[in-house]
Amino acid sequence: MSVVVMGTGMHPWGKWGRPFLDYGVAAAREALKDAGLAWTDVQFVVGADTIRNGYPGFVSGASYAKALGWSGARVASCYAACASGAQALDIARARILAGLCDVALVIGADATPKGFFKPVGGDRPDDPDWLRFRLLGATNPAYFALYARRRMAVHGSTPADFAAVKVKNALAGSLNPMARYRERVTAEQVLASPMVADPLHLMDICATSDGGAAVVLASEGYARRHGGTLVRLAAVSTVTPTFPNTVLELPDFATDSRVTEPPPGHRPFRAAIAHAAYEEAGLGPQDVSLAEVYDLSTALELDWMEDVGLCPPGEADKLLRDGQTALGGRIPVNPSGGLASFGEAIPAQAIAQLCELTAQLSGRAGPRQVENARVGLAANQGLFGHGSAIIATR
């Protein structure tokens, strides 16, 4: 048995200044319409939580259910930082696979404040996410910049390479009505934008956005009875890192010691996230038609390409420069426009990635369509060690 995506829906990303519930409910209604179902057909609703919008955000599943009208559906809510969406999808998928329900609705939405993400309020000296700001002033872009500088030193990437990622993603985003940023940009504009965390400029770093995404998942049997293109959810990877984790992770102060001999089959965290998804789907990087990877910064897209196995370490820049990862290239990366065009709406992001995979695999991506797309990979990573990767197939 497999689980399929019956419908997808999104509320456009932006800085709309409305409650997160509005975006989630709008996305949910779109997804239900796309699936040809009524809200009352949904047996299980899962909300990916938001921590910056008060109590309704911590129990988002019930908040959405109430907003859509109490239907008696079973409910779950979960938080896993940027991996919240994948976690919510995994919970829904597991319940369908267990035979406990046939159709589930998964919703994630966020409303974000302006500027750097801050730790949630209060003095919490035991919380590394609070402490890293207090002791070091280490914002999220600081970590992105450490990875970028490391990449420059190890692989010889340049700020111009990073800018080329933004140019590519902005072009794709200009073709996506759900994207927040729809303007094409030039490398000169990226390089001339203010430096935020050396070597990353403002336009290298993803913004924080409002937005919402939802999908209807169903058992294959249920979906077949309703017709439509079958896009299968072939894998959801939610792995944690394995010791020793020798890459500095947000929001940590330090890595594990690299002196410890790693166990056999050990992989760096980002590579392990994708590997688990490939294993589960019985597929490999060579099968992938397109990939949505978490471009929190332009430089990080290049790291991800190598981590998910699209090319050997150090060769992502060349693939990018040759146009292979652009729309029309051999392996388009972030055909949605990526975070570069969307900005981050945390609990919605992994669900939005699945919306893009589904659009591509069902041939409904319009001017962004990747020709003959058969396998889509989405990869993401949540703060504190929440892995997130999805493989969808048709």
Partner: protein
């Protein structure tokens, strides 16, 4: 002299030391200090002992904060960009993040040797910092 955090570093006669912990069973060393259990999942020890980490290491990567970081960070006024470095400690191979004292990003390179020191946050308490190796 107030420390911004207790038990993570010490200012001693021969210099500033980060206080990690070491597992007496398997020898794994970690920072920040864990007192409850060894970080290696294959080791069942729950008896970590304080371990003074090497004072020197090589820059794994570095950056700066061109804009004042948000609270609870207290930014100096007028604001000067804070430099940050992730330094891989000699011998133990742990990469530790810290502010850099007296060096800008233009003066740093990956692989450069730095040495632990300390310095005050804008509101007074001391924190460990990376500085030029003596």
């Amino acid at each position: 002299m107030t420390y911004a955090i207790d038990g993570w570093f010490a200012i001693e006669e021969e210099g500033v030391r980060l206080l990690g912990t070491r597992c007496p069973a398997c020898g794994t060393v970690c920072f920040p200090p864990r007192h409850d259990s060894c970080p290696d999942p294959r080791c069942t020890s729950t008896d970590m002992e304080v371990f003074r980490l090497p004072r020197r290491g090589r820059v794994w990567s570095y950056t700066n904060a061109c804009y004042p970081p948000p609270a609870p960070y207290v930014a100096a006024q007028p604001y000067e960009p804070v430099t940050l470095a992730a330094v891989e400690l000699d011998e133990v191979g742990i990469v530790v993040l810290g502010q850099v004292k007296g060096l800008t990003v233009d003066e740093l390179t990956v692989g450069m040797e730095l040495e632990l020191t300390s310095g005050p946050l804008a509101d007074g308490p001391l924190v460990w910092m990376w500085g030029r190796a003596s």
